[in-house]
């Protein structure tokens, strides 16, 4: 069955037609909702791209700064591909797919763009730091989880407010939230482009993901600079392919950035 759909996806693409009627460079409808778990999480957001849905939450935890960076705080990114969201996902520890999303897309995008000033997350040099725990969960997988996860993590960070910190006791008072938010210096937007035959598509739906040969997730910041790249898929890409895919992701990154303003 998969092959029949896959063949159909490919044969339609010869005529520049996608299974759901979209243009090759067209996203499905995107919605961003803030504060979806505002009682529990210091920041939270839901992102839907078509039928794909993910939720992200931010918790502030205390930690001891790393010895090599005693004056900095840190971020910890975790992505869970829930078996609730797709018959293809299983229970158990994070698989390679979710590790790739967490590390190669969300974490790298945030770190390499210096989106957060890690120095501001240090409470006391060498002794106490904030650890910004970013957890993203898939709720429904209808394709392109990568971009949805990236967007949801950014939206939840934008939504986040510091909890109150009792310095004397060294405790976080989670019941009391301050008005101070996390300052995002950059909005690093990841955009995934897939290659099927000689065509390049944005926002792949599930059937298109199955038919893809290679993908490139390119993360860009506001001025168009690239801050992270991750290639996926089994087939190679030519340098011309890469150039085209990067150009497309810069353009789409601009479009999606507007959704977070």
């Amino acid at each position: 069955m998969k092959d029949i759909v896959g063949t159909h996806v490919v044969s339609l693409l010869d005529k520049d037609i996608r299974l759901d009627g979209r243009k090759l460079d067209e996203f499905r409808k995107i919605t961003v909702e803030y504060g979806v778990s505002s009682k529990s999480a210091e920041g939270s957001a839901r992102v839907k791209i078509g039928d794909t849905e993910v939720v992200a939450g931010i918790k502030f935890s205390l930690g001891t700064p790393y010895p090599d960076e005693p004056a900095k705080g840190t971020i910890v990114v975790n992505v869970e591909l829930l078996p609730l969201s797709s018959p293809d996902f299983e229970t158990g520890p994070p698989n390679i797919q979710s590790i790739e999303y967490a590390r190669a897309i969300v974490d790298r995008g945030l770190r390499e763009s210096d989106a957060l000033d890690m120095k501001k997350l240090c409470i006391k040099k060498g002794e106490k730091m904030w650890m910004i725990m970013i957890d993203v969960y898939s709720v429904n997988d209808a394709g392109n989880l990568a971009d949805a996860i990236g967007l949801a993590a950014l939206a939840a960070l934008k939504d986040a407010k510091y909890p109150k910190y009792d310095e004397k006791k060294g405790l976080v008072l989670y019941d009391e939230r301050t008005k101070k938010g996390l300052e995002l210096k950059q909005i690093p937007i990841p955009i995934t482009i897939v290659k099927i035959k000689d065509k390049f598509l944005v926002d792949p739906a599930s059937d298109e993901e199955k038919a893809m040969e290679a993908r490139l997730t390119v993360t860009t910041v506001e001025d168009g600079r690239i801050c992270a790249i991750q290639k996926g898929g089994e087939l190679p890409l030519s340098t011309e392919d890469v150039e085209k895919m990067v150009q497309l992701s810069i353009e789409k990154g601009k479009e999606l950035r507007k959704l977070l303003k």
Binding site: S37, S38, K39, E53, G57, K59, N78, D135, D175
Partner: protein, 232 residues
């Protein structure tokens, strides 16, 4: 001083606001979202499908598996570590037992039906919200069911009976009694009953009566949500 008023200002037998919806996860065979106050549960059903490893298969009947999980940012206070815990395993197990009586798994020999419950936000009553959502998801998936299952947590604070306990009440400084109950609303049969804290047998009787009335209200919301899907 007696506990004369609830912290939230609710009446003693008043449920928090309920929102229920089915079909919220298109990839699943059946799904539901159930919100009571600030507690939000999502449930998805997959199956019946082949059960692996094969030695777990039962040739005369199907198997039900439930997984309860709190998203790591959904707790009050510290982040919850991802992955199964003793608590989540126990709740998964009691969720399974709360739902088994309404299903006829003999229809699906050797197969498995899996239910995933995820908590997006919590304010106590999560196992009950999870069971309520899971029952709706099963109905949404089209399983023949003897009845829905509706669940609520009732309890006592300073001798006063409270329906639908929230987190503040659960952590009331002078202690509380917490009784999560799941029922098949049509017959009033109980499929989940747990209790922590003290109660006399008269109090327990009173609690069961109040839980039944509350479950009827929850059942109404479940049925409305299921009907709403097919009105569109």
């Amino acid at each position: 001083m007696a506990y004369s008023k609830r912290i939230s200002g609710r009446k003693f037998d008043e449920l928090r606001e309920i929102k229920a919806e089915v079909g919220v996860i298109p990839r699943a065979d059946g799904s539901a979202r159930f919100q009571i106050g600030k507690t939000i549960a999502l449930a998805a059903v997959y199956g019946p499908k082949a059960l692996f490893p094969k030695f777990l298969q039962k040739s005369d009947t199907g198997t039900l598996r439930c997984y309860y999980n709190m998203m790591s940012f959904s707790g009050s206070g510290e982040r919850v570590r991802p992955g199964p815990s003793r608590r989540s395993k126990e709740i998964s197990y009691i969720t399974q037992n709360a739902l088994l009586p309404v299903l006829d798994l003999k229809e699906y020999p050797s197969a498995v039906v899996e239910i995933y419950v995820e908590l997006l936000q919590t304010d106590a009553g999560t196992r009950c919200a999870g069971i309520t959502a899971a029952a709706m998801a099963l109905a949404d998936a089209g399983f023949p069911m003897r009845d829905l299952v509706s669940a609520i947590s009732v309890g006592f604070v300073e001798g006063k009976l409270l329906v639908d306990i929230d987190n503040e009440e659960e952590h009331y400084e002078k202690g509380n009694t917490d009784i999560p109950i799941a029922m098949m609303p049509r017959t009033g049969e109980i499929t989940l009953l747990q209790m922590d804290g003290f109660a006399s047998k008269e109090e327990l009787k009173e609690a069961l009566k109040a839980a039944k009335a509350a479950c009827m209200q929850i059942n109404k919301a479940q049925i409305e949500a299921l009907k709403a899907r097919y009105k569109k």
